[in-house]
């Protein structure tokens, strides 16, 4: 189906089902219960899952397949956001023209940066992309203020032209009249499920993006990119010019990043330069590695993981911790809280950094490899016990003839 093998079709269907049911899956605890703070089924966070999932999928097409580590991908995110907000300012709040422009401009931008940066590889490539991204960031803050509105960030003002705005048109972002912030809230029992238009819009685009990356992974083009990763020199010796392939991968992943940036602006019509800073590029690197570079699902998992903890971990403050440890005697309770406290709330970056280091040290394949190892372990164990039965306990010959 859809040009996929049987196995991949199943995989895709599972992903689609999971994505569409996210508002239900992420809301496992009833409202008002003490665990409700772990619920992630609110629109803002779910949109971030989908958007940063797209960003990480795109980054993975470059880094996971070709092994080129770009430290400047946030620049494309920023460019995408700026283009989308400009479309809001010039045309109307309909997000589609903005997204199309975001993909196009970031693609052109990526073509330019990639054409120059891909002349080098290894750490030099990383530094070149980093240099370009920092240049864009610095320029967006200073000289390009007429385009980017500098430190304030680009936003829509009432005196903007908005040529396509009809009478009584929506003044929030929408797709053909369907407002992004509209939600259908379904209370069932103690649970409350929030089906948000913005989330489903992002989710459908994310599924398309995922399908595209699945096709790329399975295509001859994807195979060529993997060959670049495993031994580019040998490819060159066989007389094959790998540059067009890597450039194509770079542009595709830049367009993904632009799309993600456009979606960010579509959910909240605001674009700031800090989206382009190199630490933002570092974040997508962390997401991809944490989930598992070069795997299909890994980057999405990594993005979801980080965004979940960013939102949930950082909300856990002293009071919540006191609630957790309240079963302990007072002195011990304070002692535990003092130990745990730096890792929660504002200190969640510390947890993230430690976690990231552990993944790089012990699980170079990321969460996906971790899952695989656990699966293998379970499988082997069950096999071992089966083997035990047959090999180490030879069947006793029956005492009595049957």
């Amino acid at each position: 189906m859809l040009g996929l093998e049987n196995k991949d079709t199943k995989f895709l269907l599972v992903v689609v089902a999971l994505t569409l049911c996210t508002p239900i899956i992420l809301q496992p605890f009833p409202e008002g219960s003490s665990l409700a703070q772990f619920n992630a089924g609110y629109p803002d966070l779910m949109q971030r899952f989908a958007i940063f999932g797209i960003f990480a999928i795109g980054f993975n097409i470059l880094f996971g397949l070709t092994g080129y580590l770009s430290f400047g991908h946030a620049a494309f995110l920023g460019v995408g956001s700026y283009s989308t907000v400009w479309m809001f300012k010039l045309l109307s709040y309909n997000v589609l023209p903005g997204l199309v422009l975001a993909v196009i401009t970031s693609g052109i931008f990526a073509l330019f940066i990639g054409y120059i940066s891909l002349r080098r590889s290894g750490i030099y490539f990383s530094i070149l992309t980093l240099a370009f991204a920092q240049m864009s960031f610095n320029l967006a803050y200073s000289v390009l203020t007429p385009i980017t509105n500098g430190e304030t960030g680009l936003q829509v003002y009432t005196d903007d032209p908005q040529y396509l705005m009809g009478e009584g048109a929506l003044t929030t972002t929408h797709v053909f009249g369907l407002a992004m912030n509209k939600s259908l809230i379904v209370p069932i029992g103690g649970w409350e499920f929030n089906f948000n238009v913005g989330y489903y819009f992002c989710a459908i685009i994310a599924i398309l993006a995922f399908y595209l990356s699945l096709r790329i992974f399975r295509s001859p083009f994807g195979l060529m990119l993997r060959a670049v990763k495993s031994n580019q020199q040998r490819m060159n010796y066989t007389g094959l010019n790998s540059r067009p392939y890597t450039l194509a991968a770079f542009v595709i992943s830049g367009m993904y990043a632009g799309l993600a940036g456009g979606l960010l602006a579509s959910m909240d019509p605001l674009a700031g330069a800090e989206r382009m800073q190199w630490t933002a590029s570092g974040e997508v690197v962390i997401m991809t590695i944490l989930g598992g570079a070069g795997t299909l699902m890994g980057p999405v998992l990594g993005a979801g993981f980080i965004k979940y903890f960013e939102n949930i971990f950082s909300k856990i403050n002293d009071n919540v911790l006191h609630g957790w440890f309240s079963f302990l005697p007072d002195g011990i309770e304070d002692f535990f809280i003092n130990i745990v406290n730096p890792f929660f709330g504002e200190g969640w970056h510390l947890t993230l950094g430690l976690l990231f280091m552990c993944v790089v040290i012990f699980l170079p394949g990321g969460l996906m490899e971790g899952g695989q190892r656990i699966l293998n372990l379970l499988k082997r164990k069950s096999k071992d016990t089966a083997d035990d039965d047959s090999a180490h306990h030879p069947k006793q010959s029956p005492h009595v003839a049957e």
Partner: protein, 343 residues
């Protein structure tokens, strides 16, 4: 002419910081072959060593003075730093005043031991892994270090003034025969420049004129052969890592009066110093120093109004622009050795 001199002087202090950090980075890369993204964090930790020493020195005992009252009518609290009560008011005040230079002595053992722990505990296990893995794990370490500092010192910059004697500026131009009041230069920046020259000279002399340095240089050229000659090169490289960490830390200590340290100053410098290393040529010590000063001075030239009028915004991007140009035209950087990190 005096405008040119002023810009060169302005570039020197930033250039010195770049050169010191890049020197440490190159020492690590040249000896151990590790790309250390946590080097900016080491710079930051050095700066916080100075902050810590200042805090320790100004720990005070509070006594109530019944003869004076504050505006609420309570007896006034008088804070006397312990050092003043121990060593007498004059020496004590001088100690507090000179806390930043004293921070050098304080930082050296701390930075060297941090370097040792980092190398033995973490970096050692990454020699055989690809450069991308080294970048990632040290990047993670940098995040952890800066969050730890943020936890203890908060997110706001902490002002750490220079000693009284070096506060303020002086008329450098009139000393050289220019018109007075044209080239005004802060004392501390000059101190920083001479300090960095001293450190750089020290590191080079150490490598050039001691037996230890000779062995390290031999190890940089061909690690395996040196190992085959029965020399424990790993141990010496670990010591070099400690020295590199100390160089970064000292650069941080002395930088505190110029810019109040905050927890992400390391990240701000990291990117620039990497650019400096790459421009100078990976693994080339003179290249790193040269590129550091060159980029610092270029940056300050680009911020001249005359130049900004021609190319608006050039001061923001000049370093990156130069880096891109050099990387594309000279694949090994300015002074890179043949065969080191070429692709």
């Amino acid at each position: 002419m005096d405008a040119l001199l002023l810009q060169i002087l302005n570039g020197l202090d930033k250039g010195s910081a770049y050169a010191l950090i890049a020197l440490g980075l190159t020492l690590i890369f040249g000896t151990l072959g590790v790309v250390n993204f946590a080097h900016g964090a080491l710079f930051m930790i050095g700066a916080f060593c100075a902050v810590t020493l200042q805090k320790i020195l100004s720990l005070s005992s509070t006594t109530l003075d019944p003869t004076k009252t504050d505006f609420l009518g309570n007896p006034a609290k008088i804070e006397t730093p312990y050092v003043e009560s121990w060593f007498g008011p004059e020496i004590g005040a001088a100690l507090i005043d000179w806390s930043v230079p004293l921070g050098i002595l304080f930082a050296i053992p701390i930075m060297i031991s941090i370097g040792f722990i980092m190398e033995r505990g973490l970096i050692k296990h990454f020699y055989k892994r690809p450069h991308a893995d080294q970048i990632l794990v040290t990047f993670g370490l940098a995040i952890v270090l800066q969050e730890v500092i943020k936890h203890f010192y908060g997110a706001n910059p902490i002002p750490t003034p220079a000693p009284d004697a070096f506060r303020g500026s002086f008329d450098f131009g009139s000393m050289l025969g220019f018109d007075p009041n044209v080239i005004i230069y802060p004392y501390w920046r000059l101190v920083y420049f001479f300090f960095s020259v001293l450190i750089i000279g020290g590191v080079f002399a150490f490598l050039q004129f001691t037996t230890f340095g000779m062995v390290v240089r031999a190890g940089m050229a061909d690690r395996e052969t040196v190992g085959l000659l029965g020399i424990n090169i790993d141990k010496r490289f670990t010591i070099m890592f400690g020295i590199a960490a100390a160089v970064a830390g000292l650069a941080g200590v002395m930088y505190t009066p110029i810019n109040s340290p905050n927890y992400h100053m390391g990240m701000d410098f990291l990117v620039l110093s990497f650019v400096v290393v790459v421009v100078g040529g990976m693994g080339s010590l003179p290249g790193a120093v040269l590129a550091g000063f060159m980029l610092g001075i270029l940056e300050s030239f680009a911020s001249m109004n005359q130049i900004k009028a021609i190319f608006p915004g050039i001061d923001q991007i000049i370093i990156y622009l130069v880096a891109i140009l050099i990387l594309l035209t000279r694949p090994r950087g300015l002074m890179g050795r043949k065969g080191v990190m070429e692709d």
